[in-house]
Symmetry: C7
Subunit: 89 residues, 7 copies
């Protein structure tokens, strides 16, 4: 199954290095911040304001976009305006 | 009876694989998420920002659009801006 | 008396198949939904985004437009943006 | 004294067929609805979206515009967007 | 001292025929309405939507603009959009 | 140290004729009104809607802009839209 | 690791001359104001309204932008509209 983002949207996959504990244990801030980085999976045809491509690592705006599940993995469909920066190196 | 969406709207038919129980039993999250996928039935003449056509399977934004009933089946009339992605394969 | 909608507005006449009971009896959902269909009576000169003409049957957005009474019958003056779809056949 | 509406505004005079009782007696709905019709007294120079002229009878949107008194009579200065329809015949 | 309104603003001087009582006595409506008329003192260079000039008597929208005091007299700096009409004769 | 306002902003210095008392004593209205006049210190490159230059005395909109301190003196960085008028003479 | 701001955003690094005390001690106003100055680290490709470049010292609007941590140091990704002024000398 392939999800093709439409218009000015992108499909991104948040990095999951940190573990979310299921019993309600609060993680330190450092761990939570990691959740704002994601890998670009697909770029919509009308994404013209930002220069990103597949596999780029990006920083995105918290609480933006729509979370979806593909093959039991978490992804986000997000507008180009909510991608803040590209992370290189 | 045929419903022709006007302007930048589409007529979509949500997939109904999951069963809604009538006695108030809450379904698991996985089932509820399915409700955000739909088949495109008709595309308005001014839909220009997204590239979808009849029979495409799409992902749409929850709580958007207007629910209608045609021949006792549920459909949604929805603006192109609320179609998030196309699902292929 | 003739009412000519101005700008991008239309004059529509809601279908009244269902009966509203005066004693406060609640009608089933199916009946209420019918109220969202209307016949187009007149089209304003600046209606350009949607392709409808007199006598078309349309679906309109609930709670939109302004209700008026002409010769004791109910009509709605409504903007083209609130006409969702055309119903054919 | 002459009031010349500016920009995209019109000066209209609501029809006053119904009587407002001063002692707090509520009038039937039919009477209240009449208050939404008015005669066009003057049309601002930038009124371009609607086709109305002096002496036209129009239907206007309730609660819009600014009420003013000229020679002890009630008038409304109202934007063209709040004129819904022209009434003919 | 001369105050030159900037952009699309005007400097107007409200007519002060009515007296405001300092002890909290409420004035009749007729008196209060007069406060919405003003004389145009100066017109900003970008006032292009309305056709008014110095010394014109205008009707302005209540609660709009910024009240200022010049040589102990009250004036208002107001945007052209809040000037409703010109009063002639 | 020099502060260069960016875009459509200006750097202004409010006149300080009136004294603010540090012990919470309320000043009369006349004194407070003075705070709305300022001298223009610098004009951003994209200030195009209003015709002001360095050393002009202007009237600005209360509560707008961002207060900053340069060499222990109070300044305001303010958008051109919040400069109401120029004061001459 | 390099963070490249996208669109009309910049990456800035707030100056940290003042010390934030961890035990809840409130710092004087002068110290807090310093936090509104930052060094420009990187400028997005669509930053066109303001004239700033790497290493410029800028004044930015409080509470705007998104705080991020790079190699354990605090940075802000901020839109060009929230950069108020450039500080020279």
């Amino acid at each position: 199954m392939k999800v093709v983002p439409l218009g000015s949207r992108l499909l991104i996959k948040p990095y999951e290095e940190e573990k979310r504990t299921s019993g309600g244990i609060v993680l330190p801030d450092a761990a939570k911040e990691k959740q704002m980085t994601a890998k670009v999976i697909a770029v919509g045809e009308k994404v013209e304001d930002i220069d990103v491509k597949e596999n780029d690592k990006v920083l995105y705006s918290k609480y933006s976009g729509t979370e979806i599940k593909i093959d039991d993995e978490d992804y986000i469909i997000i507008d180009q305006d909510d991608i803040l920066a590209k992370i290189e190196g």
